[in-house]
């Protein structure tokens, strides 16, 4: 594929139609993965995917069209389709294509070095073997997967912008099935790796997956009632990811966010600071520009409990009379411009896990939350979610518990957080977004159990 040739074809077709405002957004993804089931390789996949999206302004309206087919004929067709799309659109576009002129930060994300298929295979097999080696209780159905994914993005527009970014991630997933006393349980762990630290990562992965699965065996039920809850960092970041859409100016404008009109107000406990840092230290994926080409920077969205800003793209910023926060995003190359955080984190507090449990006194340490796509409503903040974890008695972790729901409202929960752990559990990026949070102590949440 010759990008320059395709670009020239597009530019010439656009100029023939008298269209002088446009953007070409191109992505190319390369994914390789090897998986094992019961220590034997059972899946191998290698895919190259991606495509090109053309956005153009015609009669003051924005049109989109995209394709996976990289031929000159298709480029001419694309101009036709984008133009038709613009003409069918009812709303005039008020912001057009990004004009540039702002400085970009230096790219601090380490260079992505994809690992070879041979390494992926060895990593998957070793992980599978290590999972079984951790305990004789590990059972058939235990799986591992090694993945190497690279992303390239290029944005070229009619205002002379030409931006390129390459990044990627190598990751291992281990999922352990265990059986004890006739009861089966499973858990998984996911970790990034490189050629250099592979052995250490495999061991940590297997230990985490097997230990977490074994810890669930024999879990009891909890009586319904109100409990002091410590939500683990992993689960807290999942909650944050579901409710992060409330911080999007698009949701605010559409009346779909409980944070409407709350800029400058306390929306969380004063120990809560939420940042969006596109190049957070330790990230493998990060962008110095957003999906419109605007330079990205670290922002404190909530500072000591006070809401400083919503997340904007250029259109939402214009509608709300402010500057974009460079949070324009595309779910895939063909998606319209939306709003997403980059690396959205509740910053760490000052408590060790032991101190948090001590502060909770008696309660539940929640280590698993399920069904977030259904049991959480980002428009209202309400959630009622299947959970599992461990009882806390006298400040110490005790027996495992399962099959209960934790219910509340996320935005009330943010206000009632009374202590935060000192370690951020940061998730692996999905697309270009990652979430993170420390453990959080929340008093008096409703639990439905036996």
């Amino acid at each position: 594929m010759n990008f320059e040739l395709l670009k020239d074809t597009l530019v010439s077709a656009l100029s023939q139609k008298g269209i002088d405002e446009y953007e070409i957004y191109y992505t190319s993804d390369s994914d390789n993965s090897v998986g094992t089931l019961n220590k034997e390789v059972n899946t191998f996949s290698s895919s190259e995917s991606g495509g090109l999206c053309l956005r153009l302004v015609r009669d003051g309206k924005m049109g989109y069209a995209s394709t996976e087919l990289m031929t000159e004929g298709e480029m001419r067709e694309l101009v036709e389709r984008a133009e038709q799309n613009a003409l069918a659109t009812e709303k005039p576009n008020t912001v057009g294509i990004y004009g540039g002129g702002e400085a970009y930060e230096e790219n601090r994300i380490p260079e992505f070095i994809p690992v070879s298929t041979a390494t992926l295979r060895a990593a998957a097999i070793k992980s599978g073997e290590r999972l079984f080696a951790k305990s004789e209780k590990v059972q058939l159905g235990t799986e591992s997967q090694a993945v190497s994914s690279g992303f390239d993005i290029r944005i070229v527009n009619s205002h002379g912008l030409d931006l390129v970014c390459s990044c990627g991630i190598n990751a291992l997933v281990g999922s352990a099935v265990v059986m004890d006393n006739g009861e089966m349980q499973a858990d998984y762990a996911l970790k990034e790796f490189s050629e250099d630290n592979l052995d250490g990562v495999i061991d940590a992965l297997a230990t985490e997956a097997v230990d977490d699965a074994l810890a669930k065996i024999g879990a009891g039920l909890v009586p319904s009632g109100k409990y002091n809850i410590v939500i683990s960092g992993k689960q807290m970041r999942s909650l944050l990811s579901v409710f992060s859409s409330a911080f999007s100016a698009k949701a605010v404008i559409d009346g779909m966010s409980p944070l409407v009109g709350k800029i400058g107000e306390a929306v969380a406990s004063d120990i809560v600071t939420i940042t969006d840092d596109p190049q957070r230290e330790g990230s493998s994926i990060g962008l110095t520009f957003d999906a419109e080409g605007v330079p990205t920077h670290r922002r404190e969205v909530v500072a000591s409990g006070v809401l400083n800003t919503f997340l904007h793209n250029r259109e939402t910023a214009k509608q709300m009379g402010t500057k974009t926060t460079a949070n324009a995003s595309k779910a895939s190359y063909s998606s319209p411009i939306g709003v997403r955080p980059h690396s959205f984190c509740i910053e760490a507090g000052d408590k060790t896990r032991e101190e948090l449990l001590g502060l909770a006194g008696d309660g539940i340490y929640v280590t698993e939350i399920k069904g977030l796509h259904a049991g959480a409503n980002p428009i209202t903040g309400d959630f009622s979610l299947e959970s599992a974890g461990f009882m806390i008695r006298g400040g110490r972790l005790c027996e495992a518990v399962k099959s209960f729901t934790v219910a509340g409202n996320f935005f009330e929960l943010l206000k009632s957080i009374s202590a935060l752990g000192n370690v951020i559990e940061r998730g692996v990026q999905t697309g270009f977004t990652a979430f993170g949070s420390p453990d959080a102590l929340v008093p008096d949440l409703s639990v439905a159990g036996k």
Binding site: T43, M184, M256, S384, A448, K450
Partner: protein, 343 residues
């Protein structure tokens, strides 16, 4: 394109027109024309075309202090003629009606209670609690609570459940599956007895059982695996009015949201989009924010009444081979006890 825009606009207009408390109505319409062609080393060379259409309206109601939402999203495996069956007015009104009901609702109380689950998308309970555990992806690898249970009684004798990819115009129907096998009507559970799994080619080799036409993939980018098509609990012996009348105190889940399941343990959760408290056999006040949790094996035994108004609801089911359209369905059913998450 203009006609499609007009359909969505009139659905949103209907939502706004339903009540002045509707402050936002967002609509979208999806039409898909998906062609597949499959060739393999056994000499198979075949193709199929999947056409489907769906409109979704999400309505937001506000009384100034509180905001609630409602949605309606019917679809079928057909072209735009589906919107003669489900008119834009119906879709908009239904989304708005649900948002308004939720606006007046208090939080659902927590605890164990009997629950009546309405027909249509209520079938998500079976999809999540049992359907996934009957896919060869979990059964063939030993990761399912349903392993080795063929011929055994796994559900109340009133429960007969079917996966049928052949229903004309249904959301989850395909002529051939993504390995080129014709789809078929698979009776999964008959009068409580487990009769069949849903099996793809790899699962068939692993399990030593025939394929059932259930291999599906979102697109060429995914490996196909065993998946559901149109999966539903069939009509039963009970009259719908008797089901509500039988409940002294419980929850009537008129409209279900989505959920998820752990196929290994059968533990599932799903959310209730529109629910009401039942007292002394009568449907009373609306409650919101409820979730139902339990395990598949328990709930199948605990479905003790099955009504007669079988209807389907449409979903996009996500799994290792991507996101595929599936129908869920059931008549009104009663579960004798289930943990209701609320506050």
């Amino acid at each position: 394109m203009n006609f499609k825009c007009e359909l969505v606009r009139s659905a949103c207009d209907a939502a706004y027109g339903y009540s002045d408390k509707i402050v936002q109505a967002a609509g979208n319409l999806i039409t898909v024309d998906h062609t597949i062609q499959i060739a393999n080393t056994e000499g198979l060379f075949t193709s199929d075309r999947h056409v489907r259409s769906r409109m979704a309206v999400n309505a937001i109601a506000s009384n100034g202090t509180e905001t609630q939402s409602g949605s309606c999203s019917p679809g079928r495996g057909m072209g735009l003629e589906v919107f003669e069956m489900f008119t834009p007015d119906y879709i908009g009104n239904e989304a708005a009606r649900q948002a308004i009901v939720n606006l007046g609702a208090s939080y659902c109380p927590a605890g164990q209670m009997p629950v009546a689950i309405e027909s249509g998308f209520g079938g998500v309970i079976f999809h999540e609690a049992c359907g996934h555990s009957l896919e060869a992806t979990s059964v063939g690898t030993g990761c399912s609570q349903m392993c080795g249970k063929l011929g055994q009684k796994i559900a109340n004798e009133k429960v007969t459940a079917i996966d049928d990819g052949t229903i004309a115009g249904a959301w989850g129907s395909v002529n051939i599956d993504d390995e080129g096998n014709p789809t078929q009507r698979n009776v999964l559970i008959e009068n409580g007895i487990l009769k069949s799994y849903m099996i793809d080619r790899l699962g068939s080799r692993r399990m030593g059982m025939p394929m059932t036409g259930n291999s599906r993939r979102e697109s060429y980018r995914y490996e196909p695996t065993s998946r559901m098509t149109n999966t539903f609990i069939d009509n039963g012996p009970d009259k719908n009015e008797d089901i509500i009348a039988s409940m002294e105190y419980g929850l009537y889940a008129r409209s279900m949201g989505g959920g998820s399941v752990n196929p290994l343990t059968g533990a599932f959760n799903f959310s209730v989009n529109e629910g009401y408290i039942v007292r002394n056999g009568k449907i009373c006040e609306a409650v919101r924010g409820a979730a139902l949790i339990g395990t598949g094996s328990e709930i199948l035994q605990d479905i003790d009444m099955v009504g007669q108004n079988l209807a389907t609801g449409q979903g996009m089911c996500g799994s290792s081979s991507g996101s595929v359209p599936t129908d869920v369905g059931q008549p009104l059913i009663r579960v004798s006890k289930i943990t209701v998450g609320g506050r």
